[in-house]
Symmetry: C2
């Protein structure tokens, strides 16, 4: 359901490129396949490009909302590592006399003010084409959560509810009525789980990924990077409450939206058994957010869905996408 198309072969290409590239300095600690780059001294950084027509549409949101959302998505990469944000560098390009760029930038600024994160640099450029923002996020994490940290026997947990952003896209694509209030926040204002991630790391979580591609695709990233098999229990996946009330396209289910939808920016986490079970209420009262156990890790590879019928359904990244009408 995501407007963003991430090529399935991208990870392999990165590995090939890195294999033939100059050796890394000892000052660069690169977690292969992670969204952020880790430098010696605990600095992590990542960059995220948001392009009109690919990642957002200006008939679906204002330029301010597009800027705000682009910064949220970029900061989510820091949340996935449980990093403390140090600041943000923003490049905006837009057609016209600069007003559009200024408006998108104002949306970024508003988010940074709300979160107390400094703007380190901004650059506005004229673009002959779409509005676009590149957001570079810089953070500190002495011992970042990585995608490669899952061990066999770990429990899988997820923050918040899933599928809300995908449901909003469905409604917007169908046209007509404005978004119901309950779907505006997950789509326009996804929350980078920054403080939550640091709390979870302290609590004993040892691997994480933020859900930008959908639960299925991002679980596959975790499984690949950690060299384990993951299973998700369908009945335990927390669905956004609005999904129950939506007319869905034929053949599509609310679970599909959670698995394939993407852009929820919640965290998928792996923790040793028993570490989080007793602390769900504490987490909920502190962050006003649910924390749900949704599966676990074992030796092996791949990601399987347990639908309670005794069979494990293999999930792959290239499943049919009902909303794009194409294989992704």
């Amino acid at each position: 359901v995501s407007l963003h198309s991430r090529s399935p072969g991208e990870f392999d290409r990165i590995r090939r490129i890195l294999a033939g590239a100059p050796p890394l300095s000892a000052e660069v600690l690169l977690p292969p396949g992670d969204d952020a780059v880790q430098l010696a001294g605990g600095i992590v950084l990542s960059t995220d490009l948001s392009i009109e027509g690919i990642h957002f549409r200006l008939d679906w949101m204002t330029p301010e909302e597009a800027g705000n959302r682009a910064a949220r998505a970029a900061l989510s990469d820091l949340a996935a590592m449980a990093a403390q944000p140090l600041g943000v560098l923003v490049s905006v390009a837009a057609p016209g006399d600069g007003e559009l760029a200024e408006r998108a930038m104002a949306g970024v600024n508003q988010l940074l003010l709300d979160l107390g994160i400094p703007l380190l640099k901004r650059d506005l450029t004229r673009s002959p084409g779409p509005l676009l923002l590149d957001v570079v996020v810089v953070g500190r994490a002495e011992s970042p959560l990585l995608r490669s940290g899952v061990r066999g026997g770990d429990e899988l947990w997820v923050t918040g509810t899933l599928g809300g952003a995908a449901a909003a896209v469905l409604l917007l694509q169908a046209g007509g009525a404005p978004l119901p209030e309950g779907l505006r926040a997950p789509f326009l204002n996804p929350t980078p789980r920054l403080a939550e991630a640091r709390w979870l790391r302290e609590a004993g979580v040892r691997a994480a990924i933020d859900l930008s591609d959908g639960l299925a695709g991002d679980a596959l990233h975790l499984a690949e990077q950690s060299g384990v098999a993951l299973h998700l229990v369908a009945s335990k996946i927390p669905l956004h409450p609005a999904l129950g009330e939506l007319p869905l396209p034929e053949g599509s289910t609310a679970l599909d939206l959670a698995l394939r939808g993407g852009e929820d920016y919640e965290l998928l986490l792996a923790a040793p058994p028993g570490v989080l079970g007793g602390r769900v209420e504490e987490f909920r009262s502190r962050f006003d957010l649910i924390l749900s156990p949704i599966g676990g890790a074992t030796a092996g590879s791949g990601v399987h869905l347990d639908r309670g019928d005794g069979e494990l359904l293999p999930l792959d990244r290239g499943g049919f996408d009902h909303f794009r009408g194409e294989n992704r």
Copy 2:
């Protein structure tokens, strides 16, 4: 002559935004107005966006050349601080099936292999519009050269020759013949003066800026950031040898190209008196590059051009641009 339009009011806007922004962490040392951001621990980073139609044209260069040149321009920000590159993060967006993005990325890769700089992360995205690259450069500089380091009494020096890139743009805009070989390198392959800058800092240079906007505009940045007046001696400004042979538009001179042209990516430097004078030959033999004294700094403000007629001509960033046919 630059395709890139940098708004004269941009600096003031940055100051206003920073004034109302969240306070910086003690871990972020921000040199206001510098192109790169400096973090505690000696890490510096910068980001540079290159957009087809604004910063480059694909009828003037191949996608590989565009990628290669974008990476050169981005690394020049590290050279200006005398930083040692640690690596590069690249986002490429392009229309079509990905071939264009791959070709631009191949140009980036080739440069990084040539210079021995690691690629830390790459991200290819589909774009509905122009080809664009955002290049994030990460480096280390324990005591970076800053724009604010010029002191009254300092000498001004410049590396290499100026105006070559601007001359190439003039020829390309006129159409017709291919670029003469001597102008291909300054336009397509400007060299980020990375090793040169570190040598110069060791030699005693205490401020620098890379020439992306043209000598006049970049000297004004130095003067403003350092709170000094600068003067440039017209007869000492080293012009690219091809400028003498070019038919220039009426009213335009080779000196105009050097002052206003931009994108030469040479370094403008300030050094205490006598520090560099005895080392010009050593520099030339080491780097195969000339190093020229072109003026000095005094108390005051602004930049003036000494044409040898007893008068000092004030230079401003907003001077008439012969090539754009508009005030910039």
